[in-house]
């Protein structure tokens, strides 16, 4: 889906229009609470001697997970082969079991023959975990489970075939 030059001009004009609106501001109290919270958190995470902020995630482990997920080519292979190192406490054996359960359920939704979206999505999630843009591997697993539950539900709905990727609906096939 691409925009025509006319639509691009409309988009630019509407963006400029939106910039004309006032921007809401946080209250002074909220700003003061924020400043205090940031100071407390800084004190808590900065190592007193080295004065550097400790990375909040075992990034090597996420990198390994990303490589496995991507290099395997298909998500279930990656999940089956992945055995996390014992060091990252955030990724326990139970998490591997949950991931495998997700893969197993994903396989059962065999009407889905295009793995690219889930691979891209997983890659992005792992990248976010690695960069710190997402904080919780557990949250990611929960989301995976939610996604597959949603897919299983969607597959039973009559409108599934008419749903396209930009959220618009079109007349049902057949």
């Amino acid at each position: 889906m691409t925009l025509t030059p006319h639509e691009l001009r409309e988009l630019e004009a509407n963006e400029a229009w939106l910039h004309g609106f006032a921007t809401p501001s946080p209250s002074p109290d909220a700003l003061n609470r924020l400043r205090a919270a940031v100071q407390r958190e800084t004190d808590a995470v900065v190592e007193p001697k080295r004065r550097v902020i400790r990375p909040g995630a075992p990034t090597g482990a996420w990198a390994a997970a990303a490589m496995l997920l991507l290099s395997a080519g298909v998500v279930w292979q990656a999940a089956r082969e992945y055995r996390p190192a014992p060091t990252p406490p955030a990724f326990a054996a139970a998490d591997t079991d949950r991931l495998e359960e997700f893969v197993s359920r994903w396989e059962r939704t065999d009407e889905i023959d295009d793995d690219a979206p889930v691979l891209n999505w997983l890659s992005r999630e792992v990248g976010d975990l690695e960069s710190g843009a997402n904080a919780s591997w557990d949250g990611t697993l929960s989301q995976l489970e939610e996604e597959v539950t949603g897919l299983e539900t969607d597959l039973t709905r009559p409108w599934y075939d008419s749903y396209d990727d930009d959220g618009a609906t079109s007349p049902a096939r057949g």
Binding site: M1, T2, L3, H6, E7, L8, E10, L11, N14, E15, W17, L18, H19, F21, A22, T23, P24, S25, P26, S27, P28, A30, L31, R33, L34, R35, A37, V38, Q39, E41, T42, V45, V46, E47, R51, V52, I53, R54, P55, G56, A57, T59, P117, N120, W121, R124, D128, E130, S131, G132, A133, N134, A135, G139, Q143, E146, D165, D166, G167, A168
Partner: protein, 201 residues
């Protein structure tokens, strides 16, 4: 603030320099608050989420590799937090609360502004109307529009963040803004695609 000064601040923050982290707060608190406020429609949620983002920044900035893309990284955290919050709140759907519904009834304090009370009141009405209109947009359109507006991310970065093709992100922005303008201005003609936008809703 230019790129070089931001790089200095980020390097300071990575060393655990309190002043550098405070400078990041001063620089980005307003934009993050605005993003969350328009995404959730609630001042208290927006303030809480703004704080959560900065706490994550403090914890994670050591893992951030500076390639001049700090803002996309920051708003990626914000977008992920919003997504998680919206999913969590689906069980109890968000209600768009206007400033005048807030318990203390205070107008938007001019934390970053020095407008008169009359000016602020007018701005509050406008912000209320904008929030009400934004609440009528599909979540995906609202997120693209707000990310673009507050984070100044490129459409390519937004598309990557949302896991969609570039064309889809552009189309959502075009459709969402056109729909928003119609809702705000209450007339036809903001876009040739108003009719389509209305149908799609």
């Amino acid at each position: 603030m230019n790129d070089e000064s931001l790089r200095v601040i980020i390097a300071g923050a990575q060393r655990g320099d309190r002043a550098a982290l405070a400078a990041l707060v001063e620089r980005y608190a307003g934009r993050l608050f605005g993003f969350f406020y328009h995404m959730t429609g609630r001042r208290d949620d927006a303030e809480e989420m703004m704080q959560e983002v900065f706490l994550r920044v403090v914890r994670m900035i050591g893992a951030y590799s500076d390639h001049g893309r700090f803002e996309p990284w920051l708003f990626r955290i914000a977008a992920n937090l919003t997504r998680d919050r919206i999913r969590r709140d689906r069980r109890s759907p968000m209600v768009c609360v206007t400033e005048s519904d807030e318990p203390d009834g205070d107008p938007l304090p001019g934390a970053f502004t020095d407008e008169s009370p009359a000016d602020r009141s007018e701005q509050n009405e406008e912000i209320d109307r904008l929030n009400a209109a934004l609440a009528q947009l599909p979540e995906a359109e609202r997120q693209v529009v707000m990310l673009r507006h507050f984070s100044q991310m490129s459409f390519k970065e937004i598309a990557e963040l949302m896991g969609t093709p570039l064309g889809t992100a552009l189309a959502r922005a075009h459709r969402g803004l056109a729909r928003l303008r119609v809702l705000m201005e209450g007339h036809e003609g903001a876009s040739d695609h108003d009719a389509y936008a209305a149908r799609a809703s």
